[in-house]
Each structure stands twice: as structure tokens, then as C-alpha cells.
């Protein structure tokens, strides 16, 4: 049974995701950030699918669990595509676009294949423990990818404030989610204590991205020492 806070987070996430899509289009950044807009559009669509599933089958039904698990995995893979797009932007000065695209294709295909195999192997018995372990591994790949991207940004002294904000928000989301899954895996008895972590983190990502597109102009710059919190 869902409570008022569940509904609040649900509606807030949906509105924020729609807002990000609107912000990307209205700030004329669609050509540069179309993966972000597509990811947020898909996430908003998934919220609607979840709603239909819950009203039709109920929140504790196996159908809803299966849809929740599959759509979550697909969205994470889509988020990897967003990271790859950020990599391309960070490396835009160098002529290695082809290699990034190749590496990205391999990574996304391998993740999708691994997910398919894992889901097929556990078909009909998608246990809570399996879902937690799978989520932990998938999000950890995201943490590593974002961390490497952050290292690249610092190494090349990237100054585009919007890109920096987007990557940092993504890093907070991936690392927070991976840590939450890992804690749930380590301490299964504390499952109820962590039940709000994922929805809250899922709401914070579109919020941070919407604020970035709203408040940080494309030509805004940020310096390395400012990110480290030092004075020049």
C-alpha cells in the first residue's frame, strides 16, 4: 500500500522529469543534450507505466515487480548513454569521437546482454535479493563511469559550468543509489530503513538537472580552483 509520501515523490518526480524535457527544449539545447531529454522523457513515461501497473495489478503483484525491475534496468542503460554523450562533450577538443562511440556501443551491449541473461536465468523467481544485487552492480558500473568522467573533466580543466553541474548531479545520483543498494545487500533486515533513499535520489536527479538548465547558461564558465573550494 502506497502512502502520501510515495505519491508526493512520484508526482514530484514526474513533474520534474517533464520540466527537464521542457527546459532542454526551451533553452535551445536539444541538439547538444538530446540524450538527457530522451532519458527524462522515458523516465516520465515509465512513471505513467508504473501507475497503470499499480492500479491494474497492485503494488505487491509479481507483474508490477517485473515491470519495475525491467524498466529500471532499461532506464539505467539509457543513463549510460547519457554518460557517453557527456564523455563526447568532455573529449570534444580531441579527435577520438570514433573510439568513444565504439567503447560506448560495447559497454551498452555488454550491459544489456548481461541484464538479459540475468533476467532470463531468474525468470519467474525475481527475488528481492537478486534485484538488490543486480541493482547494486548496475549502479556501481555507473559510479565508475561517472567517476572516470569526473577525472577527465578535472584533468582537461573543463570550464563549461553546465556540463560540470550535470556530471556532478549524475555522480551524486549514481553513488548514492549504489551505496543504498549495497547497504540493503549487506543488511537485508534494514530494508525498511532504506526504502525512501531510492525515491528521494530519483527525485533529486531531475531536480538538479532542471535547476542546471534553468539557472546555468550554456556559456557560463567555472574554474578548477572554484570546484575545489579554494581561493585563487
Amino acid at each position: 500500500m502506497l502512502g502520501p509520501l510515495d505519491y508526493f515523490l512520484w508526482i514530484t518526480s514526474f513533474l520534474l522529469e517533464a520540466w527537464v524535457v521542457f527546459q532542454v527544449i526551451s533553452s535551445r539545447s536539444f541538439a547538444r543534450y538530446y540524450p538527457v531529454a530522451l532519458y527524462m522523457f522515458s523516465a516520465a513515461l515509465v512513471e505513467c507505466v508504473h501507475y497503470v501497473c499499480i492500479t491494474r495489478f497492485g503494488v505487491s503483484s509479481p507483474q508490477y515487480h517485473f515491470v519495475y525491475f525491467c524498466t529500471g534496468t532499461l532506464l539505467t542503460i539509457l543513463l549510460f548513454w547519457v554518460i557517453i554523450q557527456f564523455y563526447q562533450q568532455a573529449f570534444s577538443g580531441l579527435n577520438i569521437r570514433r573510439y568513444i562511440r565504439g567503447g560506448a556501443a560495447i559497454l551498452i551491449l555488454a550491459t544489456a546482454l548481461f541484464s538479459c541473461v540475468a533476467v532470463r536465468a531468474h525468470n519467474g523467481r525475481l527475488t528481492q535479493q537478486f534485484a538488490v544485487e543486480f541493482g547494486q552492480d548496475l549502479y556501481f558500473v555507473g559510479v565508475v563511469l561517472t567517476y572516470l568522467l569526473w577525472a577527465v573533466i578535472l584533468y582537461f580543466r573543463e570550464t563549461r559550468a553546465r556540463l560540470v553541474h550535470l556530471v556532478l548531479a549524475l555522480g551524486v545520483y549514481f553513488s548514492g543509489t549504489a551505496a543504498s543498494y549495497a547497504l540493503r545487500n549487506l543488511f537485508p533486515s534494514l530494508h525498511t530503513s532504506f526504502q525512501w533513499a531510492l525515491p528521494i535520489l530519483g527525485t533529486l536527479l531531475p531536480l538538479a538537472w532542471a535547476c542546471t538548465f534553468w539557472k546555468v547558461p550554456e556559456d557560463s564558465r567555472i574554474l578548477a580552483y572554484q570546484l575545489a573550494g579554494r581561493t585563487p
Binding site: T146, W150, A182, L186, I222
Partner: protein
């Protein structure tokens, strides 16, 4: 074992990303000039705002009406200020450089609060001036 490693690595990465995100968000107000009006109201004597001024600035902010969006921003910054305060207290003896870094972050938070207060006061004065020009 793997879950524990993932947990530790993700938590450290989370802290690093969170702190960098907060720094990036506070950069826009770091070099903003404060008006004499806000300096006088908040009792800011020096050229820069002191880290300890944050609490007083926050009290003035709650007294001054403004947009709801800024309330959420200020609450997030207040949370970050408290987090830095804990780091500052923990590291003061053993790691003075980390304590100084946290203090710099707290100063950025105070500067942010002062800039938001300045904007709110300017907006209120503008509204009052407009009302005085066009009384109902």
C-alpha cells in the same frame, strides 16, 4: 565482501560528488558585491562575510519574505553548512588544512545567504516603491 567494497567506494564517491556539487552551486555568488544596505542590516563589518555570520543571516532571511524556490535553496545550503561545521570541528586538531578548507566552504555559504538576503531586500524595496507610486 564485494558489497562492502562497493558500499565504501560509493559512499566516498558520493561525498566527493556532493561536496563538489555544492561548491559549483555556490561559485556564482562567491564574488558578488554586497550592497551597503545588507552590510548595515546584517552588521557585516569587513570586506568579506565571516563563516560565523551564516546563522544571523539566516534569521534575517526568514524574516524577509521572498520566493519559495529560494527557501529550498537556502535550506540545502544550510544543510551543507552544518555538514562543513562537523568537518571543521572534527579536523581542527589533527588536520588543520581540512579544517581551513571547511571554513572556506562555510564562508561561501555565508556569502550565499548574504547575496540572497540582499536580493530579497532589493525586491521588497522595489515593491514598496511601486506601491507608493501607485496606491490602491
Amino acid at each position: 565482501m564485494i558489497a562492502a567494497l562497493i558500499c565504501v567506494f560509493s559512499f566516498v564517491a558520493f561525498l566527493q560528488f556532493f561536496v563538489s556539487y555544492c561548491h559549483a552551486a555556490l561559485v556564482s555568488t562567491r564574488h558578488a558585491e554586497l550592497s551597503d544596505r545588507v552590510r548595515e542590516i546584517a552588521g557585516i563589518a569587513g570586506k568579506t562575510v565571516a563563516p560565523q555570520d551564516f546563522g544571523r543571516l539566516l534569521q534575517f532571511l526568514w524574516l524577509c519574505p521572498g520566493e519559495n524556490f529560494h527557501i529550498w535553496q537556502v535550506r540545502a545550503v544550510a544543510l551543507y553548512y552544518q555538514f562543513l561545521g562537523v568537518i571543521n570541528r572534527l579536523c581542527r586538531v589533527l588536520f588543520p588544512s581540512a579544517a581551513a578548507w571547511a571554513d572556506q566552504g562555510r564562508q561561501d555559504c555565508s556569502q550565499f545567504a548574504a547575496v540572497v538576503l540582499d536580493r530579497r531586500i532589493a525586491r521588497m524595496q522595489d515593491l514598496l516603491a511601486r506601491q507608493a507610486r501607485n496606491p490602491i
